[in-house]
Symmetry: C2
Subunit: 487 residues, 2 copies
């Protein structure tokens, strides 16, 4: 059943929340009195549609329905989750929260605030138990972090429910156990920001030089390990204690402008804005957003391949959704057997704008893996020490798959005996065959590292299919070698 | 002509410098009185050998010769560049610098110091003009940043020569124009470190929670844009001034522990070391180093694909070396061209525990893409509307790649004419061939969607290679079809 999220305040942050919910199949109702809200949110959503699916290796669910409500009361009607992202003024937030609670009770209400603690948000609330901080990071549709900060007044069940919902939309809810000004991450951002302003003001470095000092060095480290794990490694075999013994005393050195806050004068603003123009002015903000998103996709993809950090969050999210997708897809019928349904994802595209060639073989593997599961050569079978290995493949390219195409993979058994399984796979878009893959699979005893007959149960399932497929016409491309003239 | 770098102090940082120079073809002489120095440096070098080549799309130069000198005088004899990475004690550094200058004059002498300014290093030096700060970031063999900090006493020609040398080994020399305690980046690290210690001490967050707050959010942003460019984007179309108007006032809020430095007590050290063990203790430091390096390779590769930030540094480095490679490699006479170096990552493994079959074709694509770039059919060429498309492939599996294996992809041209490019790729682990991929590529006019002759410049580069490869033995697997009996 489709669930509903209500987004109160539809700026960059609220829009990011809306996009994340929508692309994960939730219906979303937005309330924002800004007459430009619909256009602005549309731009965030366009960015998100181009970015978030690139992180998924499971087809995305059908996008939810987006609506704009005329009042807060309308927006939160029937909501399963409510996120407040209005301006950082406590009186305004109190008014908005009161209106939300007049129309929705017992529903988690997260606030995107970076400046207020949950106990401050809860002041004077009809029901403080459902109001908490859920502080995301821009771009909300790509970065997994959401700092979840409750106060002592919160209902723990509401907090757990909220965390589960955020996981459902692919986020990493970080439970902050003690409320504190600026939560956790923004305290670091603030410390660095203050130091950076000093360096610019004192003429030590420009905004560009400061950005290079970050992204050419420790910024790369911090995206995959944090501060402490990085230093643990730096300590070498002797570990964290050794590192602290080395680096600890530096705390007393005058390495930062500890006690002062630079005056926020017009001159300082102009100095920084001017340097920033010189550094990045050749790109529009929209261009920078797309560059940033593509970079983040690259980082997140890299971490996903390594099952690490934010990449692990993505893999876990795929696992949840894969189960749901398999239930819905069924096994297919007929001969050749349609074994796989796939969608061409942004990460599958090469620099020509087409599906990259190794993804055709990937699509074939999805098809043959499903077939092997069908005949009982599944994960348990592999765990028992036997498997089918591919010995040889021939791929013929007949057409080009493009972003978003829905593909099917069908499989025809050309020949089979106790040890050998000769198959022919077609990757199709509708009726059009885009590629054919002919393969010879050998059944192996994995431990001994040599071929052996398949188990009787597997042969019993494979036999009738192979027999039935003898009646199918033999594909013209079967037995072809590379460069052979077309018949 | 091979150039020589002298590395004085061979710990994690000195070893990283040595590895970077060696892998970029420089001879390296190391002086370090530690009897364990050779073993320790060997471990850093092993990590670097497994990591740095994975960033290159041009074959690496032949590794330089590594030697261990008995004295500083021996080590710096005939050096073109000298890097000092001894312990952070000013009296020790002064002694070492004096010994260096007794044996080498007019040679750039960089210091890895994070704690001392160049004017401090130059105190009492026979020749202050050649001594400057060249502050790198761990792992030195992967992170491009080196903060170059001169004082007013430095010879500008020496500084420019040093920067050019660092670019030659793939680094990004950031010229810091005013000397200041801790240079630039470490001031930020210090500010965050101090704030993080407070959060742990006050029980707000554990080391693990702090690391998650960094790597799930802003850490990902900072690896590709820095602080100011990130905020410029956050400001939206209104830009930097708007952002500063919004965020500026927060400087006065109590978001960080501005004025205090936490006492560095035994209890605080134990608290942090204990939490770090709980967080990361399941991995050894060596394992964490390899995980970190693989993640950094992924990030840097992602940026390289996008020609952005640290990835642009890599591309520039490739461009320099490609010219040199073309001169040295000629046409690959007598041997197939080794075009790609890869490592089997965790995401490449299938349920059998081997490299999944589509990754063999992926490895072949990495190889053929590098070859296409070599002959000038690169991204710009594709942007101009022409490309080589794969029409057909045959894959023969001969062995199994496993997690962590280092693979090379070599390419032999079987036949080429104006439109057709018939190639044979070997994916090897050392001398062992794990798979061969035979492919027919067709040169296409992408807009018209049909084959056409390649550009004259491409044919001019391809021709001599194809001609030279005619002398190579034709592979037995070429022309094979699936299921064909072995000869």
């Amino acid at each position: 059943m489709t669930r509903k999220a209500s987004i109160i305040g539809g700026g960059v942050i609220g829009g990011g929340w809306a996009a994340r919910f929508l692309l994960n199949g939730w219906d979303v109702a937005v309330f924002d009195p800004d007459p430009e809200a619909e256009r602005k949110l549309g731009e965030v959503l366009a960015n998100a549609r181009a970015a978030l699916p690139a992180l998924s290796d499971v087809p995305m669910p059908a996008e939810g329905r987006l609506s704009f409500a005329k009042s807060i009361g309308d927006a939160v009607q029937g909501a399963d989750y409510i996120q407040e992202s209005v301006s950082e003024r406590l009186d305004l937030k109190h008014r908005v929260l009161a209106q939300i609670q007049q129309a929705a009770s017992g529903v988690p209400i997260g606030s995107s605030t970076s400046g207020f603690k949950p106990s401050e948000l809860q002041q004077g609330a009809a029901d403080p138990t459902t109001i908490f901080v859920a502080h995301p990071f821009n771009p909300v549709y790509l970065l997994p972090l959401a700092e979840i900060v409750p106060s002592a007044k919160n209902d723990p069940e509401i907090i757990e429910r909220a965390k589960e919902i955020l996981r459902d939309i692919g986020m990493f809810p970080l439970h902050v156990r003690k409320e504190i000004d600026a939560h956790i991450a923004d305290r670091f951002l603030e410390a660095v920001w203050r130091e950076a302003l000093w360096l610019v003001k004192d003429g030590v470095a420009t905004t560009e030089e400061i950005d290079e000092a970050i992204r050419m060095g420790f910024g790369l480290r911090w995206g995959q390990m944090g501060l402490f794990e990085t230093y643990r490694v730096a300590g070498g075999e002797a570990g964290m204690k050794h590192f602290m013994a080395q680096f600890g005393p530096a705390l007393k050195w005058p390495w930062t402008r500890l006690t002062d806050v630079p005056d926020f004068t017009e001159e300082l603003v102009d100095l920084i804005a001017g340097q920033s123009d010189a550094q990045s002015g050749k790109y529009t903000i929209r261009e920078l957003e797309r560059i940033r998103d593509r970079n983040l996709i690259g980082f997140l993809r890299a971490l996903k391949e390594r099952d690490w950090g934010a990449g692990k969050v993505l893999l876990d999210h795929d696992r949840r959704r894969r189960a749901a997708f398999h239930e819905a897809a069924g096994t297919g019928e007929g001969a050749p057997l349609v074994m796989a349904h796939m969608q061409v994802l942004p990460g599958w595209i090469d620099y020509n704008g087409h599906m990259t060639e190794s993804r055709y073989l990937f699509a074939a593997s999805e098809t043959s893996d499903a077939f092997l599961r069908l005949i009982g050569a599944d994960m348990d079978y592999v765990a028992g020490g036997h498997s089918y290995y591919t010995a040889e493949s021939h791929i013929l390219h007949l057409g080009e798959a493009k972003l978003g195409d829905r593909l099917t993979g069908s499989l025809q058994v050309l020949d089979a005996d106790d040890k050998r399984l000769h198959i022919f796979i077609r990757i199709q878009r509708g009726e059009e065959t885009l590629a054919t893959i002919e393969q010879m699979l050998l059944h192996v005893d994995m431990k001994a590292g040599r071929t052996c007959p398949a188990a009787a149960a597997v042969r019993a399932r494979l036999g009738p299919i192979a027999e039935a497929h003898k009646a199918l016409p033999r594909p013209a491309a079967a037995g072809r070698h590379v460069g052979q003239r077309k018949p």
